[in-house]
């Protein structure tokens, strides 16, 4: 059974204070690892897909990296508008169509 665990559950940062969110996963065969951002009362917003160990992707202040067992979402010099819940999910080769298994999320709060 695919499993995803995110840590920490909640993270409070000062504006400009860089940090990382962790996503540990267990999957029979990784089809892809996905990062989403979710604001209160809204659906998850797609950020990145990573497919193989060593892959990195960047978008503004966010950088996602992938190893064989975990992924990190690095946030550089965050701003208050980066405050949200960040969700990690895996797709397994066991399903051809991309069913996702999500972690519980990390609630990020950035104080001005």
């Amino acid at each position: 059974e695919d499993q995803v665990t995110q840590s920490p559950e909640a993270l409070r940062l000062q504006e400009g204070e860089s940090s990382s969110l962790n996503c540990s996963y267990t999957v029979s065969g990784l089809r892809g690892l996905f990062w989403y951002r979710q604001d209160p009362g809204k659906g998850p917003e797609f950020l990145f897909t990573l497919y193989s160990a060593g892959e990195e992707k960047e978008k503004e202040r966010l950088k996602a990296t992938l190893t064989k067992k975990e992924s990190f979402l690095h946030i550089t010099a965050p701003k208050p508008e980066d405050s949200a819940t960040y969700l990690c999910a895996v797709g397994s080769v066991g399903t051809s169509y991309g069913k996702l298994t999500f972690g519980q999320g990390t609630i990020l709060t950035v104080h001005p």
Binding site: V4, R31, G32, F34, Y36, G41, K42, G43, P44, E45, F46, T49, L87, A89, G91, T95, S96, Y97, G98, K99, L100, T101, F102, G103, Q104, G105
Partner: protein
């Protein structure tokens, strides 16, 4: 362009009532998913459609849950005889092709009283 839309955004049902939740995916997207999200948790898979075919319904919690996508575009998730434990946000997502990144709608928050 238009994203995934869902209606209603909020639904309050009395225990035992039937409800129907609608999803309009992004035009041309082959794959459509339904997820259930409890407060403070990540979304959990309910069911998957490829065009009009329901290929996986392994996540549906009970036979009170039923989903359809008759013409391969709009989908409806129906819950019969609602129970308090059905209270959650129901999210719909679509992807262009199977395995692609999924784009989510805003969700329907269902409260069963």
């Amino acid at each position: 362009g238009a994203g995934v839309s869902q209606s209603p955004r909020y639904k309050v049902a009395k225990r035992g009532q039937d409800v129907a939740l609608r999803c309009d995916p992004i035009s041309g997207h082959v794959s459509l998913f339904w997820y259930q999200q409890a407060l403070g948790q990540g979304p959990e898979f309910l069911t998957y459609f490829q065009n009009e075919a329901q290929l996986d319904k392994s996540g549906l919690p009970s036979d009170r849950f039923f989903a359809e996508r008759p013409e391969g575009s709009v989908s409806t998730l129906k819950i019969q005889r609602t129970q308090q434990e059905d209270s959650a946000v129901y999210l719909c997502a679509s992807s262009l092709e199977p395995g692609d990144e999924q784009y989510f709608g805003p969700g329907t928050r269902l409260t069963v009283t």
